[in-house]
């Protein structure tokens, strides 16, 4: 399946909405990992964890043909200069959902895998963009082979990014990875 259709179905499987660009990138990353389609999605290492320009382009295309609404929202956060940090939220519109449903029917096998992956992901809990980024970067660094991680490693990762993340949030990122079955916490 091409990246565009995967992203379309992934958004549909996640209920049609994802809040924030970073979260979109990392959610698709985990859906790709859990459905075994990650190699087709073009992810490469990046400072803030795995990033795929193909996924970004797929979201752009969905937007440009009128299937995906992108709205700016306040994430409630402020940068070092005191400016409010804008968050770009994505949501499939009615037509986007209708075509996704058709697409799911025409691609039953892949759709089932994405749907199953989305169920695992949703069950693991809602993560904000920082925690899901830590989780994605950890997974990427561990070689994508169900590696073992320590909470201490995750703390170090967060500090490397310069993020001020509290320990409970880091524990949550680690537990998230364990819950979805990609990492064993030791």
């Amino acid at each position: 399946m091409n990246t565009y259709d995967f992203v379309h179905l992934a958004l549909y499987a996640m209920g049609g909405e994802i809040r924030g660009k970073t979260k979109l990138q990392k959610t698709i990353y985990f859906l790709g990992r859990l459905s075994n389609h990650i190699d087709e999605l073009g992810y490469n290492p990046h400072f803030y964890g795995p990033y795929s320009s193909e996924v970004a382009e797929a979201a752009n295309r969905l937007r440009s043909i009128g299937f995906l609404e992108q709205s700016v929202a306040s994430g409630g956060a402020f940068d070092s200069r005191g400016f409010e940090v804008a968050r770009w939220d994505f949501s499939l519109d009615e037509e986007g959902r209708k075509v996704a449903e058709l697409k799911a029917g025409n691609n039953g096998k892949v759709w089932k895998k994405i749907e199953k992956a989305s169920t695992v992901l949703k069950k693991a809990g809602d993560m904000d963009y920082q925690r899901i980024s830590i989780a994605a970067k950890t997974d990427f660094l561990l070689g994508q082979k169900g590696g073992r991680a320590k909470i201490k490693d995750l703390e170090e990762l967060a500090s490397r990014f310069g993020w001020t993340v509290k320990k409970p949030e880091i524990v949550e990122a680690g537990e998230f990875l364990e819950k979805i079955g990609l990492v064993k916490l030791v």
């Binding site: 400072f47 320009s53 752009n60 440009s64 043909i65 299937f67 940068d79 804008a86 075509v99």
Partner: protein
Amino acid sequence: MTIRLRDPVHNFIELRADEVNLLDTQALQRLRGIKQLAMAQLVYPGAVHTRFEHSLGVMHLSGLMANELGCNEDEIRLVRLAALLHDIGHGPFSHISERALEIFYNPTLSVADRKGGLHELISATIVERDDEILKRLGKDTCTNIAKLLRIGYGQPALKSIVRGPLDADKQDYLLRDSLFCGVKYGVFDIHQMHRSLILHGPEDEKELMIRQDGIHAVEQYVLAKYYLTTNVYRHKVRLITDQMMVRAISLGIEKDEIEDLKRLYHFDGSDDFIQYYERFDDAAFMQKFCLDAAEGSKCKEVLLRVRQRKLLKRVFDCRVREFKDSVRDMLPKLMDEQRDLRKSVEAALSREIEERTGKKLDADLVVVNVFSIRSAREMSRNDEQGILVLGDPPELFENASTLFASINERYADEFVEVYAPIEWSTEAEKNSVRRKVKQPIFEVIETNCAAAIERPER
């Protein structure tokens, strides 16, 4: 021995001994015959610069960047050599060959093999296998350069210098293309941008970023990319000539069944492919598949049209959003995975245009093109991840820049155009033809795509 060459963009470019040694290899000399912007000279007569001088420029800038970033001597040597060789995988007419390779490569190549793009893969393959290059640089250096060009080698910043949102490649082509096209859009403060470059991050994974004082220079750089894209790279005549060249190659392979043409674009990673591919530059391609080709060849016919500037005309253009939902989903796919559907749509369009205009058309020359336009803000990312601005924590350039933060990112559009071998001599005649065919073309595209969606072949 080092030498200094005069360059119209960077003035003096100094080459070190091992770079001078490489200059006379056939792999690099071939680039003198491959124009940077393919047939853009049909719109911008000055755009006849080649991949050769661009490669020298990229090497020069890579060295400046690596030096500014405090890279050691081995790293500077490697990154300059990689930059000098980064385009040796380009085929005749640059991106036109790239598109043909994407259509006709050997489908048994895995996704992992193709990762990063076919021309980059061919560049890396040539570096690793070309006898002249191997002899002059040694096997280890060639292996490291190939790795750097494809997946990265050493610290991540080296890869970012060669390929990334702030890479030396884009810096050079923006300045060079604008100079040779005679437009003033590509100019930016490259020296200030270089001054603001910094490596930041943990020791083993330092990333290329800019300091706050480089934000305005990067704003200029991103705007340069935006303006050149909208005015030069996406110029309507250039879109048409590109489509005509790719169509000539497709017809040559699929209709004329020219074995040599198929051999040129059926990339399979073999030595035989590389050796044959390296024989061609723009002129050799035109000689073999146009001037020396047998009469009656469709490929020859289309190439001759381009050569004589008898270009197709844009008879239809429309936003993809105007079509019904499932057709909107399908339209961009006509350009890659739905090639058979594209052919049937084009055949139907040809009949329709003939009927409406009363003019006999060659159905093979009716071309549907679908492409997108992104906001300037979106273009700061190019095809890679975003540019990072040093801060605590580092943030994306498009948020850190006051100018770019205020641009509406929601603007994104997809367009469909139809080109046909129609002649018109006045503006009134052109408008009359376009008016006559507008609605019928719209309906043909919508009906054919909708019918294909109702009979999925999966």
